[in-house]
């Protein structure tokens, strides 16, 4: 499934989409993220029948993604985003 974590408020859409079918819970994104946005969990909270681990967006960070991800997304001269670069399976995408 595609799990979209984040929010939309007056200032825009800030969602991180995780393709759980492609995720194997390797955790490389967890290491790469300077803000601790991701964590690997053994059970998918949205799919009780899934047997493999996977990543989710940490509960505390979900409603502040614009701010948590801010340092990796400066207004100009934006380098590739570390979590997406680190993922070997094309699991993560950002809506902004």
């Amino acid at each position: 499934m595609i799990a979209n974590y984040g929010y939309k408020d007056g200032s825009g859409d800030y969602f991180i989409a995780i393709d759980t079918d492609k995720c194997d819970g390797c955790g490389k994104c967890v290491e790469a993220c300077p803000a601790g946005v991701f964590e690997v969990v053994d059970e998918d909270p949205n799919d009780p029948f899934r047997e493999e681990p996977l990543i989710i967006v940490v509960g505390d960070k979900r409603k502040k993604l614009k701010y948590e991800c801010g340092p990796c997304k400066p207004p100009t001269n934006r380098p590739p985003v570390p979590c997406i670069e680190a993922c070997p399976h094309d699991v993560i995408s950002h809506s902004w």
């Binding site: 984040g6 007056g10 909270p45 949205n46």
Partner: protein, 295 residues
């Protein structure tokens, strides 16, 4: 103060129901789903995957107590002892605080499965707009989640946002839908997404001579558009069904369906029990697979 007034949430009445055609004693597997939301709580008791009893009531200030009350209310008038329940799943905003739950599952998964149960296997898109959040879920023919998003950060598009406006305009929330259509011409939607700024905008409109109904219409229109942009992100596939409290607000829902260009599915079940029903069904499936409570 205003906050206190609106705590009296009377856009739906608390209710419980027992299925007259089921004898719980004949059931092989009995499961329960308890959905503790920010505003309302529901409990559903299923016998072999069929709804035996359910309840729908206000959430109190204490989540564990709300869960207990919801389950008691569902079992009230039945003679089923709680101990007969083989497996219990907690869901909703307060899901980690359901003391009698064997495990918790997110409302996303439960609303997909519950929506599937309530509306039938043709459902592919479920929209749930509750007190403090808005969820859009795409599911397959079995009610399994394929794609979802949830917004619980921002009040715009939620029941709470609607409440604030009803309060500002002194219109009982029950009447918002109808009154928003009692206008000569459909006005432009309010331009601010943010509820705080929309309030200022609405005050300005009233000063310019707009009628209360027109401002209501402008706000319902803005909410419908906002909910649309949220669900657009995951795509809308037929058939489309709506759960949660907002389903009962025609002012927003009718406008939303017009924007989408589809008819929403209809059901005789109370749309607010979708989460709890889905939770009970998950319980049933887990027990059947041998993953139930270790005796």
């Amino acid at each position: 103060m205003a906050e206190e007034k609106k705590q009296e949430f009377w856009r739906w009445t608390e209710s419980n129901w027992r299925n007259p055609d089921i004898k719980w004693e004949d059931a092989k597997i009995v499961t329960a789903g308890i959905d503790v939301g920010s505003v309302s709580s529901q409990a559903t008791v299923m016998t072999d995957g069929q709804i035996y009893a359910y309840s729908n009531m206000r959430t109190g200030s204490d989540s564990p107590e709300s869960a207990r009350n919801a389950l008691n209310y569902a079992l009230e008038g039945t003679d089923m002892p709680e101990s007969r329940i083989d497996y219990c799943i907690g869901t909703g905003y307060g899901r980690v605080n359901v003391p009698m739950a064997d495990r918790s599952i997110t409302e996303i998964a439960c609303h997909a499965r519950g929506g599937h149960f309530i509306y039938g296997p043709e459902v592919r898109t479920v929209l749930d707009v509750g007190g403090q959040d808005c969820k859009a879920i795409r599911c397959d023919e079995k009610g399994k989640v394929i794609n979802f998003l949830m917004n619980d950060k921002c009040a715009a598009g939620t029941g709470r946002g609607m409440e604030v406006f009803a309060d500002l305009l002194s219109v009982p929330i029950n009447d918002v839908g109808e009154r928003s259509f009692e206008v000569k011409e459909e006005p432009e939607p309010v331009s601010s997404t943010c509820v705080v700024y929309a309030k200022t905008e609405a005050t300005g409109l009233l000063r310019k001579g707009w009628e209360v109904n027109e401002v209501l219409a402008a706000y319902c229109s803005a909410m419908a558009e906002r909910i649309f942009t949220l669900i657009e992100r995951i795509g809308i596939e037929e058939k489309f069904a709506i759960t949660g409290g907002m389903a009962k607000n025609k002012g927003v829902i009718d406008r939303l369906m017009k924007i989408i260009g589809l008819e929403a599915m209809k059901t005789d079940w109370d749309t607010q029990i979708a989460g709890a029903a889905g939770a009970a069904l998950f319980g049933y499936a887990l027990v059947q697979k041998g993953k139930g409570r270790k005796k």
